[in-house]
Amino acid sequence: MTARVGVVTFPGSLDDKDAARAVALAGAEPVSLWHADADLKGVDAVVLPGGFSYGDYLRCGAIARFAPLMSELVPAARSGALPVLGICNGFQILCESHLLPGALTRNASLRFVNRDQVLRVENAGTAWTGDYTEGREILVVLKSGEGSYVADEATLDELEATGRVVVRYVGGNPNGSRRDIAGITNEHGNVVGLMPHPEHAVEALTGPSTEGLGFFTSILSHMAAGSPVNA
């Protein structure tokens, strides 16, 4: 049986359909999850998609963090059992929920930036990056207004020391993120958050490349390898 990957829709989620398409292209079954249902429908993994949940009012992800679904998701993710990928707004929600350290703040340019972006995969050992090789550069899409990753120096040092920086910007820092960090993981490697959009680089026709698909095939390989799922 193929893996079932939930894609959560919050009020204001925008890239949910796109994430579901990427899941399907990778060969998994996308399952839509609704923010107001405290029910993960027994999925094997979850994607928190991009968008402007609750209009990004107050702070990006600040209100979505309190959705009923999150009360199910957070403990499962924290324990290491449930793989969760947060993309863009999803990354912001993961930080606001304290599943990942640090925070995302206004781009240094103070403007929204939409561009094709090269990333270097720094950690190919997470649930979502196993199909890449370490050091590989991939071309995906970056589109965000509050994508500047910040954390205190001690946290940054620890992330580096423990290999928890998952992807880094290459070819110029687009938003002022500390140490060019584009994405990070938790200590179990099951929760990954990144600002750029791998799900917009899955089809040659509509994306700058198909090199983002690896995030979605990785979770299938991870399942197949019999890693703890909903243990």
Partner: protein, 607 residues
Amino acid sequence: MSEVPGLDTVAVAHENPDTPQPYAELGMAKDEYERVREILGRRPTSAELAIYSVMWSEHCSYKSSKVHLRQFGEKAPENDALLVGMGENAGVVDVGDGRAVTFKIESHNHPSYVEPHQGAATGVGGIVRDILTMGARPVAVMDALRFGPADADDTKRVLPGVVSGISFYGNCLGLPNIGGEIGFGAGYIGNPLVNALCVGVMKHEDIKLAQAPGPGNKVVLFGSTTGPDGIGGASVLASATFDDESHAKRPSVQVGDPFMEKLLIECSLELFEKDMVVGIQDLGAAGVSCATTELAAGGTGGMNIQLDRVPLRDHRLTPEEILMSESQERMMAIVEPSKMEEFLAVCDKWQILATEIGEVTDVTAEEAARGGRLVMTWHGETVVDMPPRTASDEGPVYERPYARPASQDALQADDAAGLARPGTDAELRDQLLRVLGAPGVGDPTWVTQQYDSYVRGDTVVSTPHDAGMIRIADDSHRGVALSTDGNGRFTRLDPYAGTQLAYAEAYRNVAATGARPLAVTNCLNFGSPEDPGVMWQFAESTRGLADACLQLGTPVTGGNVSFYNQTGDVAINPTPVIGVLGVIDDVRSRLRTAFGSEGARVFLLGE
């Protein structure tokens, strides 16, 4: 006298026929006011005056442009693809596979000058609701912009604000921005142009119309609460020249909430899918006035509204202010009583406030002949009792005088032959650099980088290409391509040919992607229609577009007119912005504006 102190009821209007009324301040001409009195057989109440003043404003009634716009219908080419033509919120064309596409471009020029960010943002919001109202899912936006010279002080205020407004609203709705244009010119100082286009996709059977059939059906207002946004905006803001005084008064601007609009879109689409509405209208410039009169006029002609039920953000609002409010992100639906419960449940799911504010009524034959009967009460007292059709469809129509300006000959005589030619390599180089470095020619990445072009995952072609293209279905490779173009300088020199050139450019841009041009929308940005020279430009421009559309076989399906783009008596260069939509059976065969491979041969086609 009325129970509510100061309330101007129909009874009060009868008792005090001679109370002076501020029709002029509301932008109404004396003879228009007299006509209202004639229609009603008495003086209007304040609420009725509010309705007529916004509905008969240039912005809503097209009173100066109507006689010219008619050509688009009269000269329309035979076209089997047209499912809904001009006159509805937006035109609808058949694109095959049982799918249809609706698209339209609209201006938000004056509000964007007053408050660039909010003005442009709410411009996007408005056109998106127009498309939604047709029953379609909005799938992409474009924007055509004009500013004063790039180094002018006011441009530094207006341009970043407009771009951030479009970016903020469009991105937050999850609509990819697939193209547009930016131009600069002296005349646009104080008169920036912000024209926003939206395209939506639906199945043929999903087409919705603005009508209120079936006596007993409920009138439901849903979306945002009503506040004092842009009160008087429809007639005062959108139709009057900016002089220093009105600038100082700074009318209360409309503020957009794209998050609310996103919920409204999803909520409405679910309501459509579950077949829970029989008629629907978005609340645009003329708010509740427009929605009630148009829905009633499109249905039985009869409607009762309890105006005090309209949920307010500011409890001090009077009936006439509620009627004129331009608060954003609101819709009005006509719902069968048996479906009300389910309707409210869907709204609740999307956290959308929905309020029943009245119902559709029957009218007698006599009332129907007069234009129907719309009655509104305020805490039980009647403040409106009027034939809605007289406001929505039977507004004034002007045959404005027009004449070719005497200066036109001199303008045309001053042609390129009189310009100095570069004599040396250095001069040639200098000229080339000046052209390439001109703000209107240079790289627009500073702007386009702020727009999300990828969201929805269906964008096949977008910036920097000449046209945008999106895939419109998951189960086929069908797509549509769109381009907007306009050139105020050409149109100034020759309004007839200049408009045709803009159309031809948009047409070529679409054709060059591999799509088949199918239909046209347009936003006509001009100076004051009261100036015969401007009116001549307008007449020539519309004639040019209608003739060209007939020749190339693409009907005009809708559009928008923006007059009074001028400072003092100096009008902008006439700037019709033409949008062309084409269809492509297989997006995988699309072409882009780039040399595909090394060694390919390059041909120049045409003269």
